[in-house]
Every structure is written in C-alpha cells, then in structure tokens.
C-alpha cells in the first residue's frame, strides 16, 4: 500500500532507479521505436514532425511572398498559387498548430503532474501514428502532383462533385479525418490524465495554469472536432455516393457546410490559443519569480473563453447574407470574448510589473506575444463588427489579423515554451545570445511583414490572388511585407540552428536551470523513462519554491509499470493502476484505420470491409493478458 513519506526526497530514492529502469525502459532498436508508449518519446516525434512541417509550410509562405513582392509577376501561375496557399493553410492549421500543442501536452502533462506516463499510454502511440497518416495523406499526393487547391476551408459547391473533379478535395477531407481522430485520442488522454492522475495535494485549486489550459483545450477539442469530421464526411458522401447535403438544387444547403465547419473552426482558434496561454503563464511565473497574479481570474478567464468560443462561429460568415439580428448577436458575442482575454493580459502585465522580471529569451517571447497579440486582438474586435467585416472579409486585412493572432498569439509563446523546456527535455540549454538575436529578428520581421497587410486590406487587396496589376498601387507595401518575411525567416533559421547546435554542444542544464515552480523541474534533465522515482506531494500552487524537505509518496510497484490514480476534486490517492507497456498494436491499429480512411476515398465499401482489419487490430490491442505479478499470485 502507498504510504506518505515526508522524509525521503527524490535523491534518496536513487536505489530504486535500477528496478524502475528494468520495468520502464523500452526494448532496444527498431522494436522499441515502433512499440514505445513512453509519452516523452512520442511527444518528441510529434514535435519533430510538426516543427518540420512548420518549416516546410513556412517556406511555402515565403514562396508566395516572393510571388507577390512585385505586381504582375508570373513566376507562379494561378494554379500553383492556389495549391501553395491551400497546402500552407491546411498544413499550418491541421498538421502544425493543433498537433504541436498536443505534443507539448503529451510531453509536459505527466511531468507537471509528477507522474510516470499518461492515463492511456497506447492511445498516445495510436494518436501519433494516425497523425503521421494525416501528414502523409496530404503530402504524398502532393509529391505525385495531386494537391488540394481550394484553400484550407473547402466550401461546397466549389468542392462538391460538380465543380471539384478528381480526388483533390477527397484528399483534403480525409487528411482532416486522420488528424482529428488523432487529436481526439490525444485530448481524451490528456483530460483524463489531468483529472484522475494529479499528485496528492494538487487539488483543482492548486493546479498550474498550464494544466487548466490543457484541460479546457482538451474538453473543447472533444466537443469541436467531431463537427469538422462531420462536415468533411458529409462532403465525401456528397462526392462519392451522391448524397445531397450540400446541393441546393435538391433541397440541400451549401451554408450548412460553413456552419458545421466554423462550429469547429472558431473553437479551433482557441484550441490553438489556450495552450499558448498556459505556456505564457508558466514562463511569466518563472521569470518574474512570483506566483502569477490573479490565479482565480486566469482560471475563470480560460473557462469562459472555452465556453464563449462555441458561440461566435458565425462571424466567419457575415458576408453570406444572414438575418441582421443574428449577425448582431454574433458581433456582440465576438466582442465579448475580448473581455476574458483582456483580463488575462492585464494579469500577466501585473505579474511582470510586480515581480522581479529577468528578460531571458522565454520572457522576451512572452513580451513579444503580448504586444503582437494585442494588435491582433484589436483587429479582431474590428472584424467582429458585421458592417465593417462586410468591407474587410476576404481582404488582406483578414490575412493580417489571423497571422497576428496565430503567430503572435500561439507561435511566439510556443517558441518561448520550446526555449524554456528545452533544457528539461534535452539536458542542455539553448544559447541565450543567439536566442535573443533570433527573437528580435522574428519579432521585427514579423511586424514589418504583416502590419502592411492591414493597410493593403483597407486598400482593397483581396486574399488568394496570385498576382495584381501595377495600377492597383499595392506594389510598395507588398515589397515591404516580403522583406519583413525574409527577416523573420532568417530569425527562424537561427532558432533551428540554435536548437540543433545546443542539442550537441549546449551548456549542461541540471535539474532546474530557471528556478521553476512546477513539478517538472524536480525530475532529472532529460527525465528518465519513469520520470519520477517517487510521486511528489504538493502543498501549494508553487511546489518548486517550497523550502525542502519536500514530501513524496512511495509505494508504487518496483516490479510492474504502475501509476497513481487520485480523486478528481481533491487529488486524494485512490488506487494504483497498472500502466500498459510497449506494444505493436497501436501501430497496427493505426495502419488498419489508415487503410479504411484511404480506401473510402475510392469506394464506399471501404467503410464496410475496412472495418474488419480495424476490429481485428482492436481485438489484438485489448486482448486480456496476465501480468507477471498476477501469474505469480495464481501459481500454487
């Protein structure tokens, strides 16, 4: 039975390390690679994949900026340009932004909880393999010359059977199914882990804000993502088996697609943004050396953003001819969401102002985030107004707005978070000097690159055009925008180089290089496969700043993989839960699922026959196996 041990700090438990190593280590070589359920290894490959795609889709953006740098350029034709912005948008929204936040959660949540793994380790593996299937679904056909070309939201009737011939639309739609099933798997996993696997003493009211952010994000994901899978599945049904959901001629409704899509699409913006809020709170706390100002306000703000996010999707559709009263309601709702976010911004500013800020690279990214995101938020309040949006929709103003909130609001905190947790993940610190240079290049380049787009939008430049005539007078600002992008790209290249070089030659980090307050800073850097030798016991919001000795809880098995399950509200220990070990079944199940998804582009029968391999793989996955401990107990 587990026992509360007040006098055994982590270091004294080192003798357990050999035993823990034997049960938590992965098999060596390729077998371990394919079967691992270690949340850190899976998160690492998730992160590498998403960041590689971020670079590739960023290069596509640079290509488009070069194309627009002068009027009348023909280096890209209209078709190539359509494919470029579709690939860029679809990759960034579906294959980078959401998965990268999941990757961070998969890596960080167990560490911040003092746990050894997520609640459903094999589901983590399944999630990654399926996500990788989504990546291949979009990029392999692209390599073969079949690229979706209708933008990152593919509205019918343009994407319907009459106007979207071939398989380009189907590829896009099924890529979404892949990534959204993967995201659902990750979100269920993260939500259950946060609710049921908190260390003793970490009541809901003592949960770090990052965990609150991930909990709300995960619940939002579970509610929002089925909508987009519904939208794309109905679209595929229209195209493949001639259903009439989106056919006005047969009594269907093209706007139905937009409603379902944006019912997902707008919460998705916050599904990307709220984890970033969690990064910001963690970084602000550590680098101002005080607990975050207004913890309760922050928690309530995150929850209200999560709720309001589901009530304002129609502001993406102001131009489609909705009743005026409805439009006014969504204008009000869209403006209302600025209030909780404003509260959060003020809380961070208050934390920085009243703390002892140390402007290392992570906090620089946070200040860059605050400045940029406030501009993006203000242009958001502008476009929330239905009459103004009628003028601005589908212009570069919207392009500027969405990049201010997504890059400024989500990627800047992400870069800060990567710098902040890099030493924990790798054991080495990234160069501060190069980190600051990269920050200023990206921050300045980004603003030079995207601020002129507000003006271009007000001047009437539409988005999604491959070129424009010189007489339009947009040439100078476009050239400035391209120059800004080049500066930012240089900064991004320095970030990548800094990370790669620091991985090999960076300064050794030790357990806690920044003086962090949360639990992940009390395990080794990089964490061993079992993370913590004993479960920490928490008595405040900032356990890392409590004076030693720090209480821990021992008693988890040294013979089998076990994790501690606690109660939802007060984190009272309830029982020890066996934790599954390495398995090939998540990969096989993902392959079977991929077969079904890919096949259903070509024939509806794939759903029928494809479910047989999926069922077989799931039976293999869940086949009851006797654990060694039980076998011994049953032996005579």
């Amino acid at each position: 039975m587990a026992a509360l041990d007040l006098n055994a700090p982590q270091a004294d438990l080192a003798q357990d390390a050999a035993a823990l190593d034997a049960i938590w280590r992965d098999p060596p070589g390729i077998r371990g690679f394919l079967t691992t359920v270690d949340h850190k290894r899976i998160a690492a490959r998730y992160l590498v994949t998403t960041l590689a795609l971020l670079v590739i889709a960023g290069i596509l953006a640079l290509d488009m900026r070069l194309q627009l740098s002068q009027p009348g350029l023909e280096r890209m034709g209209p078709q190539a340009y359509n494919e470029a912005f579709t690939l860029h948008g679809s990759t960034m929204l579906f294959l980078v932004s959401v998965p990268v936040m999941e990757a961070m959660a998969i890596w960080l949540v167990p560490l911040m909880l003092g746990q050894r793994n997520l609640a459903y380790p094999r589901l983590t593996a399944y999630s990654y393999w399926l996500y990788l299937g989504g990546v291949l679904m979009l990029w392999v056909p692209h390599a073969l010359g079949i690229t979706p070309d209708l933008g990152w939201f593919q509205y019918p009737p343009l994407s319907g059977p009459a106007y979207g011939p071939g398989h380009r639309v189907d590829i896009w739609a099924q890529m979404i199914t892949f990534t959204e099933v993967a995201a659902l798997a990750a979100s269920v996993n993260v939500a259950v882990t946060i609710l049921k696997m908190r260390p003793p003493g970490m009541t809901l009211a003592r949960m770090p804000l990052f965990l609150w952010a991930m909990l709300v994000t995960s619940v939002m994901t579970v509610l929002a993502l089925p909508a987009v899978m519904l939208a794309t599945s109905l679209l595929i049904a229209d195209r493949l088996v001639s259903t009439q959901f989106f056919s006005p001629g047969a009594g269907g409704d093209v706007l139905l697609f937009q409603h379902i899509f944006w019912f997902f699409g707008h919460p998705e913006v916050y599904i990307i943004f709220i984890p970033a809020v969690g990064f910001v709170s963690a970084i602000v706390e550590t680098f101002t050396r005080r607990a975050v100002f207004g913890y309760t306000v922050q928690v309530l703000a995150i929850i209200s953003v999560g709720l309001l996010a589901f009530g304002l999707w129609v502001h993406h559709m102001f131009a489609v001819g909705l009743p005026r009263l409805g439009a006014s309601f969504y204008t009000a709702a869209s403006m209302a969401i600025a209030l909780p976010i404003g509260l959060q911004i003020f809380s961070w500013i208050a934390t920085i102002a009243s703390g002892r800020p140390r402007f290392d690279t992570p906090l620089l990214w946070v200040t860059g985030f605050i400045a940029t995101f406030v501009i993006g938020g203000l242009s958001g309040v502008m476009t929330a107004s239905a009459p103004l949006d009628l003028q601005l929709t589908d212009t570069y103003f919207v392009v500027a707005h969405l990049h201010y909130v997504l890059i400024g609001g989500a990627l800047f905190p992400l870069f800060g978070a990567l710098t902040y947790w890099f030493p924990k993940a790798t054991g080495r610190i990234m160069s501060e000097g190069w980190g600051k240079i990269a920050f200023w290049l990206v921050f300045v380049g980004f603003n030079i690159g995207f601020f002129p787009m507000h003006l271009l939008g007000l001047m009437g430049m539409p988005r999604r055009i491959y070129t424009y005539p010189a007489e339009a007078g947009w040439g100078t600002l476009n050239l400035v925008a391209t120059a800004g992008m080049l500066i930012a790209s240089l900064g991004a290249a320095i970030i990548v180089a800094n990370a790669v070089i620091s991985l090999r030659w960076g300064r050794r980090a030790g357990v806690d290089p920044w003086g962090g307050a949360t639990l992940e800073w009390s395990c080794a850097s990089p964490p061993p496969p079992w993370n913590f030798a004993a479960t920490p016991v928490v008595a405040s919001l900032t356990p890392g700043w409590e004076p030693p000795p720090r209480a821990v809880m021992t008693g988890l098995s040294l013979e089998n993989r076990e994790v501690l399950v606690t109660s939802v509200g007060d984190a009272v220990p309830e029982h020890r839960q066996p934790s599954p070990g390495p398995s090939i079944w998540p990969l096989l199940t993902a392959l079977a699922t991929a077969l079904l998804f890919v096949g259903s582009i070509f024939t509806p029968w794939a759903v029928v026959w494809g479910s047989i391999p999926v069922a077989a793989a799931l039976i293999g996955w869940f086949w009851p196996r006797t654990r060694p401990e039980e076998a011994q107990a049953e032996a005579p």
Binding site: Q79, G145, A162, P165, R168, S242, S247, G249
Partner: protein
C-alpha cells in the same frame, strides 16, 4: 498512378486549342478526354448552353448520350463534328456559338457520360442546374 496524375492535372496555364481535331487519333485528344478538369468544364458548358433540354438523362433513346450508342460515330472527331456542325433533323450547329476550346471540352464530356453512373450524373446536374449564371435546362 501516372495516368491518375494526368487525369488530375489542372491545365489552366497550358496553351489552348485553336483548331478542330484532325481525325480520331489527334494527339491533343487525351489532354481533354482523359482530364477530369476538362471534362468537368465541358459538363458546365453543356449545362450553360442548354444541351440538357434535349439530351436529358433518361429521355428519348435517339437523344440519349449515356447508352454508348452513336448514330453518327462515337470517335472524338465525329462527336465534335456533330456538335460543331449540327445533325439533321434537330441538332443545331454550335460551332458558331461556342469557342473552339469549349467544343473540345463539351465533346470530352459528352463522350464521358456513358462512363458515369446515373446517380453521379444526376447529383452533378442538380448542382449545375441550381447555378444562377447559366441558362440551365
């Protein structure tokens, strides 16, 4: 797979045809007949020019384009000629109304109809008929 890539091509930037096909083996024919985008363009023009008002699905056997039977020949150049020059008794000559490339695209679509199943064709017609811009059928 390579054939599939060709059929998926969106030949927006290629030079357009300016002359009718030279026989049934004209080298330009595959660029239209085997390309999904060109066939879909042809379908749209088919609807815009009101072809469906006589050649509706499930209509008169002589006017049925879906049964694979061709009274004046089913080769690309023959179908092209039927559309461009008209056929007695009732088929008007569209050569003076449609640009040359449109004739190629409509020809490709008309020859493609027999390969489509009825439900797909009906579903696509529903979308095109609901379109505001064309005359429809």
């Amino acid at each position: 797979m390579l054939a599939a890539c060709g059929s998926e091509d969106r030949p927006i930037e290629r030079e357009r045809v300016r002359t009718p096909p030279q026989g049934a083996a004209d080298a330009r024919i595959p660029y239209y007949q085997d390309n999904l985008f060109q066939v879909a363009r042809g379908a749209r023009f088919f609807s815009w020019y009101g072809c469906g008002s006589c050649h509706a699905a499930g209509g008169d056997e002589a006017l049925d384009l879906a049964d694979g039977k061709w009274r004046h020949g089913g080769d690309f150049d023959a179908v092209f000629a039927s559309i461009a020059q008209g056929r007695a008794p009732g088929m008007p000559a569209y050569g003076s109304r449609m640009p040359v490339e449109t004739l190629w695209q409509v020809t490709a679509y008309v020859r493609d109809i027999e390969k489509q199943d009825a439900a797909t064709r009906r579903r696509q017609d529903l979308d095109r008929r609901a379109e505001g811009g064309g005359r429809g059928s």
